[in-house]
């Protein structure tokens, strides 16, 4: 709940500090609909990765490869369409399949070989990006996509940026999976106590495999949206996105030790980061310093640390209070 207040405060702050009237008398900056839609548009890809990572982190795992997989899928999609001559819908379908397959590779290494997810996905993080760079030899960029495809990333449909609908749909699906099915409960149980889950008869390996395959699939969806938004597929697509996504998930209250976390929390985390990043760029001070990029990094870090501290603060305070309470009690028994 604290995060919701932070988000509201953040939004109000930027609304008042980041909106102005320009030379031509037009209202510009944060308080415009265009800007709000831009925020939504820019948060779709990292938002999708954050949705993919929420169940992964709930099972006490991690997937560092999703950003690299986004790059690989973008390149393969471009190649299938441009060099393979496939129609766009077929190329999209195949790309989603490849994403799921790449997720399955993570899943097999983690569940069958019992390797730690951190190490496995650190490996595939380099592997997927390396593949993307090797396929394009670092130099090919796929562009000139048809208008109808760019519509997904650059236009609006029913009032919202087109890709926002895809993002909301995936968010709804993940929300239902995590909060309305036994799968979600299984993920949390595995995160809290994997051995206990196994003794309770849960198919731990199959459930774990599912979260990594889903992560791969969603990374592929993000790759399609990314390509449509920029109108280009290049090997560096999505580099560093995994870290922003993890930040959003943790900010949204998912425990990095597993067992705890929600989809609405993750959505709030994504929004808090996106509003912060876009809002900072609207501040006159930041504009004059020409440092929007650096400031957003700095403040995102500060926000994460502050939120983490705030989340453990009540516990520490109550611990202190109860200790003092017992201390006064013991002295009172002594005094009379």
């Amino acid at each position: 709940m604290l995060l919701l207040y932070v988000l509201i405060a953040e939004w109000l702050f930027f609304y008042f500090a980041g909106t102005s009237t320009n030379r031509r008398g037009i209202i510009v900056g944060f308080g415009t609909w265009d800007r709000q839609f831009d925020i939504l548009r820019h948060s779709c890809e990292i938002g999708l990765l954050a949705l993919a990572l929420t169940p992964v982190i709930i099972t006490a795992g991690i997937d560092l490869s999703v950003g690299s997989l986004l790059g690989l899928c973008a390149i393969l999609f471009g190649k299938l369409w441009h060099d393979g001559g496939l129609p766009i819908p077929l190329a999209i379908g195949l790309t989603l399949g490849i994403g799921a397959l790449a997720g399955a590779l993570n899943a097999v290494l983690i569940t069958a070989l019992r390797l730690p997810p951190l190490i496995v996905t650190l490996g595939t993080y380099s592997l997927f990006r390396g593949l993307a760079e090797a396929i394009t030899r670092g130099s090919i960029t796929y562009t000139d996509f048809p208008e109808a495809f760019l519509f997904i990333g650059q236009e609006r449909w029913l009032g919202l940026p087109t890709q926002a609908w895809i993002f909301l749909l995936v968010a709804l699906a993940m929300g239902l999976l995590l909060h309305r099915t036994t799968y979600g409960r299984a993920f949390r149980t595995i995160g809290l106590a994997p051995e206990g889950a196994r003794y309770a008869g849960l198919p731990v390996e199959r459930r774990l495999a599912l979260v990594y395959v889903l992560a791969g699939l969603i990374a592929a969806i993000a790759a399609i949206i990314y390509t449509a938004r920029l109108g280009q597929a290049k090997a560096d697509a999505g580099s560093g996105y995994e870290l922003f996504a993890i930040t959003a998930v943790v900010l949204g209250g998912t425990s990095i030790f597993g067992g705890k976390g929600t989809i609405p929390g993750t959505l709030l985390g994504v929004a808090a980061i996106a509003v912060l990043k876009n809002g900072l760029a609207c501040l006159p001070v930041v504009m004059r310093l020409n440092a929007a990029e650096e400031m957003s990094g700095l403040f995102t870090g500060a926000l994460l640390l502050a939120a983490l501290t705030a989340s453990v603060l009540p516990k520490i305070l109550s611990n202190l209070r109860s200790r003092r309470h017992t201390a006064t009690q013991s002295t009172s028994t002594l005094s009379p």
């Binding site: 207040y5 031509r24 900056g29 130099s139």
Partner: protein, 293 residues
């Protein structure tokens, strides 16, 4: 308790915001300039020239870009400027087609767009401030390389990135000149440095160990470590870009113009929609100290 917390947060935010906006009222013309990467010495010296022009013209200059040569971030920065309602956007494009979608959107909103250093698609901008024609650059580069090694032996190239359209163009003309004039020279490798200094150095070392007969490395990216390079005056490029941008915003520079006056630098020729900075300029150990990169 929760309600009071919420109210406290909101009040704090609004108060802070009003303090900040008090100093923000500014009715100057705003020109936003986007480099390929902002920590790059080449673009820093561009900015020095741009700053000078901005001061002379009394405009506000925004100079922001990715910290690495990242095409996606370039688009996000341009989209940010569109909603900030700047008057002019001047771009050195990392990816020609990619950036053009954002630039067309800016034009639709009434923002004047021009490119410098590396062009976008022709329909996505009004003018391109061209530092030198690719043919001129390619020929001068190749001639200078041949002069240094006595027109024979193996050489290699280090380019900024293999995707940058302008550098591919130069490479094409270097190769054309090579074929035509210097049959005893051989181009053995072309490597990218991604506009990073340490990458340029490691690529140079790798090239030397892989090709022991290598006599020369032609580095056409700014962090290269050359003995003699051919460039143009980057400060002037920034200066000219700002003057052209402001003239465009004030409707003083229109399509079909044949020449253009840029402050203390005087007159520049225009070919079609290209504003020409001039002939390539050869930097060497003799004159490099006059320039502050």
């Amino acid at each position: 308790m929760k309600n009071s917390l919420l109210r406290f947060c909101a009040a704090g935010a609004v108060l802070l915001a009003s303090l900040l906006t008090a100093s923000a009222a500014d009715s100057k013309l705003i020109v936003a300039m986007l480099p390929k990467s902002k920590g790059n010495a080449y673009f820093i010296s561009c900015k020095a020239g741009a700053d000078k022009a901005a001061k002379e013209l009394g405009i506000q200059l925004l100079f922001d870009g990715p910290t690495d040569s990242n095409a996606a971030k370039q688009n996000e920065i341009v989209e940010n400027w569109i909603t900030l309602g700047v008057d002019v956007i001047a771009v050195a494009a990392e990816n020609k087609e990619g950036i053009s979608t954002a630039l067309r959107k800016a034009q639709k909103q009434g923002i004047k767009v021009l490119t410098y250093d590396a062009d976008a698609m022709a329909d996505a901008r009004s003018f391109f401030v061209n530092q030198a024609t690719p043919q001129g650059i390619g020929q001068t580069l190749m001639d200078e390389a041949a002069r240094l090694v006595g027109a024979e032996g193996e050489f290699a190239m280090i380019v900024g990135s293999l995707t940058a359209a302008n550098q591919r163009e130069w490479q094409k003309y270097v190769e054309a000149r090579l074929k035509e004039k210097f049959p005893k020279m051989k181009l053995v490798a072309v490597r990218p440095c991604d506009d990073l200094k340490d990458k340029a150095q490691s690529e140079a070392t790798a090239l030397l160990s892989a090709n022991p007969k290598l006599k020369l490395i032609m580095a056409i990216c700014s962090p290269g470590v050359p003995e003699s390079v051919i460039l143009w005056n980057t400060g002037d490029l920034g200066y000219l870009t700002i003057y052209a941008g402001v003239a465009l915003a004030k409707d003083e520079l229109k399509k079909g113009a044949k020449s253009f006056m840029a402050g203390s630098l005087g007159s520049f020729g225009i070919e079609g929609d290209n504003i020409l900075l001039g002939k390539p300029f050869i930097f060497n150990q003799g004159n490099i100290d006059q320039f502050d990169f």
